[in-house]
């Protein structure tokens, strides 16, 4: 196979795996090539998509996977196909809970509820159903509740390659050493 054919094969592969994405070593397995060559092919294809405005695809990365997606600038057009009923945004409660699990995970429901000051049954259930969080073993705290952690799907939806990409939490500083209590 020449280079052009390898690129075509890679493009087809990315199309097939769709939103699941594919890891570098899995690509190597299918293409029967070494990782360094596959990395070069990926870069080349990526460049092709980015520079050639006649192409509608782009390669996006999440976790350690490559995914073939449409370009962001045409999203509003594609939205016309959407069945709005299922295009649900995440509520403030869902975002809060996700943030807690992303930063503090693995973390259990009682601990989440402590932080939020509200019952979080519903919101946890919804996040689980959307596969944004998953159960990862039992917590050590009393009653041994389930611990939750964010998923690969979470990384995909929030366009993150790993949790280390998350911004630092902003501490509220005590202004000029005020007395804590009056």
């Amino acid at each position: 196979m020449n280079n052009a054919e390898k690129i075509a094969l890679l493009e087809g592969l990315l199309f097939l795996v769709g939103d699941e994405g594919i890891m570098l070593d899995e690509i190597c397995e299918v293409l029967e090539l070494e990782p360094n060559e596959v990395t070069l092919l990926l870069t080349e294809l990526e460049k092709e998509y980015q520079q050639n405005t006649r192409r509608g695809f782009i390669i996006t990365k999440f976790a350690k996977k490559y995914r073939l997606t449409t370009k962001k600038e045409y999203y509003s057009f594609y939205l016309k196909l959407a069945n709005n009923k299922f295009e649900s945004k995440l509520s403030q409660a869902a975002l809060e809970t996700l943030a807690i699990i992303a930063y503090r995970g693995p973390i259990s429901k009682p601990e989440i509820e402590d932080l939020r000051g509200v019952n979080s049954d519903n919101v946890i259930h919804k996040l689980k159903a959307r596969e944004l969080i998953k159960e990862v073993g039992k917590s050590e705290i009393a009653g041994k509740p389930m611990n939750y952690q964010v998923t690969e799907e979470f990384l995909k939806v929030f366009k993150l390659s790993s949790l280390s990409e998350l911004p630092e939490l902003q501490e509220t500083k005590l202004e000029d050493d005020e007395e804590l209590f009056k």
């Binding site: 199309f15 097939l16 795996v17 769709g18 939103d19 699941e20 782009i58 996006t60 995914r67 073939l68 997606t69 449409t70 370009k71 962001k72 999203y75 594609y78 069945n83 009923k85 299922f86 945004k89 995440l90 403030q92 409660a93 975002l95 809060e96 996700l98 943030a99 807690i100 992303a102 930063y103 932080l115 939020r116 000051g117 509200v118 019952n119 689980k128 159903a129 596969e131 995909k156 939806v157 929030f158 366009k159 993150l160 998350l166 911004p167 939490l169 902003q170 501490e171 509220t172 005590l174 202004e175 005020e178 804590l180 209590f181 009056k182």
Partner: protein, 245 residues
């Protein structure tokens, strides 16, 4: 007592409301007067038009906690070291909770923005290459079915159904019982020995809400009576069904 535009819906919980009250008064978290804050908080609750008990309980819990601290503050101080510490501790505990919550609340803006971005890159579901029998070695020896995954497959199928009308909470008398569905599933699966993908089995049925619900219950029931085995390979994350002779 001030009249507020009172609506609990806009808050995610009592901590959120407390932060709002502090911010609204342009107070500094570290120097808030707890007595004042308690009055505001309970005043706010008193103005809520229809306090639904489900939601209110958490707010009332916070209110009682605040009132407790406030009482401690107002009781004439005895010259006792311990009392002093106790009160300071309660106050500091509340401040610590508020600060911790504030950090989370602030970072949600980032998540919201990322989500807005991320969802604009669209991809398609993975293509399942037809006629692929799943090799045995890809199925774990002690398969553990993930109910969420099963439910999700159904949800994804449902998404493809363009419902004629919005879902309402009216009672639809279903034409299909899970028992009938179970019979149909057994008829379909019983003639081959192959392993089925859940989606593949579902594609044999008319995609209506009632049928899916019946199918879902039927599958769980068949699995319970060990007529079928539901398996999920961690590796592929797909759900497979096998008919037991």
């Amino acid at each position: 007592m001030e009249r507020y535009e009172v609506n609990l819906e806009q808050f995610t919980g009592p901590l959120d409301l407390l932060l709002h009250l502090i911010k609204g008064k342009e107070l500094d978290i570290f120097t808030i007067s707890l007595a004042q804050l308690t009055d505001q908080f309970t005043g706010y609750l008193a103005n809520v038009n229809d306090l639904n008990i489900e939601m209110a309980s958490e707010y009332l819990l916070m209110a009682s906690y605040l009132v407790e601290i406030k009482t401690k503050l107002l009781i004439p101080k005895q010259e006792v070291e311990i009392e002093d510490n106790y009160e300071t501790d309660l106050r500091n505990e509340l401040i610590a909770r508020l600060l911790e919550y504030k950090k989370i609340k602030e970072v949600t803006k980032y998540f919201k923005a990322q989500h807005e971005q991320g969802r604009q890159y669209l991809s398609k579901p993975k293509t399942i290459i037809k006629g692929n029998k799943v090799p045995d070695e890809q199925l774990p020896l002690s398969p553990k079915i993930n109910v969420d995954k099963l439910a999700n497959t159904f949800l994804k199928m449902l998404e493809r159904i363009n419902l004629q009308r919005p879902l309402q909470s009216n009672i639809v008398i279903s034409e299909v019982s899970p028992e009938d569905m179970a019979v149909k599933i057994v008829q379909l699966m019983g003639v081959t020995t192959k392993t089925w993908l859940l989606e593949e089995l579902l594609s044999h049925f008319e995609p209506t809400l009632q049928i899916f619900v019946a199918c879902f219950i039927a599958l769980l029931d068949l699995a319970r009576s060990q007529k079928i085995v539901i398996e999920q390979s961690d590796h592929l994350e797909q759900i497979y069904l096998t008919f037991q002779e």
